[in-house]
């Protein structure tokens, strides 16, 4: 019975999230919207690479770096979008629609409700990621033959990685209970930590050596590594481009990713519960901050 209730909450909140995400526009316009933003974000890096290569007089010369950067950036959309989406649910429901208090007094499990709301973000982001990868392969000449892709590894890595990203999102949602609406920079900043330290668009070894230990404890580092191996193959120039990670075999990468994800899931649950408790104690559940 309890499981059925949880499933119902999850299903309905996922449907609600999808409606909120998509029904403001007709499907055609929504599809364009879902594609333009991620492609533009990726093109910034593409143009940085191309312009710099031609400014140097020679043209693009480092396809391994380009592939490394392109795939990392495409996959990073999950981190940016899901982190932001999960966290924004708190501010949106609390201040915009002012429904947070009603969800609290309903029999729905709030934790599961947030999980359900994140599903729509994942769905929209997945469209963006797929389009970006196809664009990279067809228009920019990234060498990623379908026959070389390890589909089981990709699906496994993606499942663990998404669990990890959602866990981070839930932890931030816990913090959002206590922050004002204008603290949106928090999501941007936390995503920035991952973008900078996890080897999303450049090898970790480019960073100062003091930051390497930090990179090595963040699960996103290993998620991106596993995904690069899944897409390009273990011995490929892209997967082995980062000297710091090249020493790991795929089982080690997966193991570290799984263990660190489990730790972060536990941690996020504690942070979420703490934020929830403090918000109720301080009377912040229906706070509005219309500055």
């Amino acid at each position: 019975m309890a499981m059925r209730n949880l499933w119902r909450t999850f299903k309905n909140s996922a449907w609600l999230g999808w409606q909120m995400e998509s029904n403001w526009a007709d499907p055609y316009l929504f599809a364009i919207y879902s594609i333009v933003k991620p492609i533009a974000g990726t093109l910034i890096l593409v143009f940085m690479y191309i312009f710099l290569s031609y400014a140097g007089g020679g043209g693009p010369t480092n396809p391994s770096l380009f592939g490394y950067m392109y795939l990392g950036n495409a996959l990073f959309m999950y981190v940016a979008q899901v982190l932001f989406g999960v966290t924004w649910v708190i501010h949106d429901d609390r201040e915009h629609y002012q429904t947070l208090k009603y969800i609290y007094i309903s029999p729905a499990n709030f934790y599961v409700y947030i999980l359900g709301r994140s599903v729509s973000k994942i769905a929209v982001t997945t469209i963006g990621v797929i389009v970006t990868i196809i664009f990279g392969v067809t228009a920019l000449g990234i060498q990623m033959p379908l026959s070389n892709i390890s589909w089981p590894l990709m699906l496994l890595g993606m499942s663990i990685g998404l669990a990890c990203i959602i866990a981070f999102g839930l932890a931030l949602a816990g913090v959002s209970f206590l922050t004002a609406r204008h603290a949106g920079g928090m999501n941007e900043g936390i995503a920035g930590i991952f973008y900078l330290f996890c080897g999303a668009i450049f090898p970790i070894t480019v960073l100062p050596s003091w930051s390497w230990p930090l990179a090595s404890v963040l699960p996103i580092t290993y998620w991106l590594y596993v995904m690069r191996v899944a897409f390009f193959g273990l011995g490929s120039g892209v997967a082995s481009y980062d000297a710091m990670l090249a020493g790991y075999d795929i089982m080690q990468g997966l193991l570290i990713l799984t263990v660190s994800t489990l730790i972060f899931i536990a941690l996020s649950f504690v942070i979420f519960r703490f934020g929830d408790y403090m918000a109720r104690k301080k009377g912040l559940i229906d706070m509005t901050t219309g500055y």
Binding site: G41, H96, H182, G184, M186, G192, F202
Partner: protein, 281 residues
């Protein structure tokens, strides 16, 4: 008992009312900044992380040092673009959702004073973010600015801001009527504008026509002009700085005049269609 009649009430001048409106609308933002000091951390330390990633990608590509300076300047200016998008243009949508928009409409003041107040109130936090980005960037990445012409730099920056906030006021007129489209439009105008305006690379590389088209967004020429005045002997400018300044002055005037007419038109349209008080569309 004294009775107050309308004759006793001396109506303040139009200018005074609007100046008061500007300060009145900016005050909640200032108070909000004091009440929620967490923004200092979120708006100063955290944004530099994302910007640093772009610096390191240039390092990974072996780019000359001034490219890192370009990223720092572009990263600092994102603060103003985001402020215009979210805290000014989209704010009218938010005010409508909160039920404040009708109160603004009832007040005998210009809508531009309200928007000016939002800009002024948000300017402090935005400038803190921009300046801290530049300072942290200078310290961490050892970027060196060689200012070619101080006055030109100040003028280019000032007119970029005027034109940008004028554009924001123009956008606000649309956001007054829109529902959730407003939110999504703001979202959509982030990365694509970073791309076409050359936040992280010189816009000149796009070629003349593409760069000229992007110049309708004031931050394009503003960034290009500032980079030209901050980095001597680097030939990556799109147009001569004086020419960019002239265009920015023209854009400032055009956007502010257009904003006035568009706000009046959209308000009229909103009243006729009954959309000014529609919430949760």
């Amino acid at each position: 008992m004294t009775t107050i009649t309308s004759l006793d009430y001396k109506r303040p001048s139009w200018i005074r009312m609007n100046v008061q409106a500007v300060f009145g609308r900016s005050l909640p933002r200032v108070i909000g900044a004091y009440r929620e000091p967490s923004w200092i951390f979120f708006e100063t330390v955290l944004p530099i992380l994302g910007i640093a990633a772009y610096v390191y990608i240039y390092k990974a590509m072996g780019a000359p040092d001034y490219y890192m300076g370009y990223v720092i300047i572009g990263g600092a200016m994102t603060a103003y673009w985001l402020n215009v998008l979210w805290s000014m243009a989209a704010q009218f949508y938010w005010e409508k959702e909160m039920g404040n928009l009708e109160l603004y409409m009832m007040a005998p003041i210009s809508r531009m004073s309200i928007l000016g107040g939002m800009a002024l109130g948000g300017m402090f936090a935005t400038t803190v973010r921009a300046v801290s980005t530049i300072i942290i960037g200078l310290v961490i990445f050892n970027v060196t600015f060689v200012i070619v012409d101080h006055i030109l730099l100040v003028l280019v920056f000032a007119f970029t801001i005027f034109a940008l906030y004028g554009m924001g006021m123009m956008f606000a007129s649309l956001y007054m009527l829109w529902g959730r489209e407003a939110w999504h439009t703001s979202n959509l105008l982030t990365e694509p504008i970073y791309l076409v305006s050359g936040f992280y690379f010189p816009v000149k590389y796009f070629g003349f026509f593409m760069a000229a088209a992007a110049s309708f967004i004031p931050i394009t020429l503003g960034l290009d002009g500032m980079r030209q005045t901050l980095f001597a002997n680097v030939n990556t400018g799109f147009l001569p700085v004086w020419m960019e300044l002239v265009v920015l002055i023209v854009l400032s005037l055009v956007f502010i005049v257009l904003a006035k007419y568009m706000l009046a038109y959209m308000e009229k349209l909103g009243k006729r269609e009954g959309r000014l008080t529609m919430r949760w569309q």
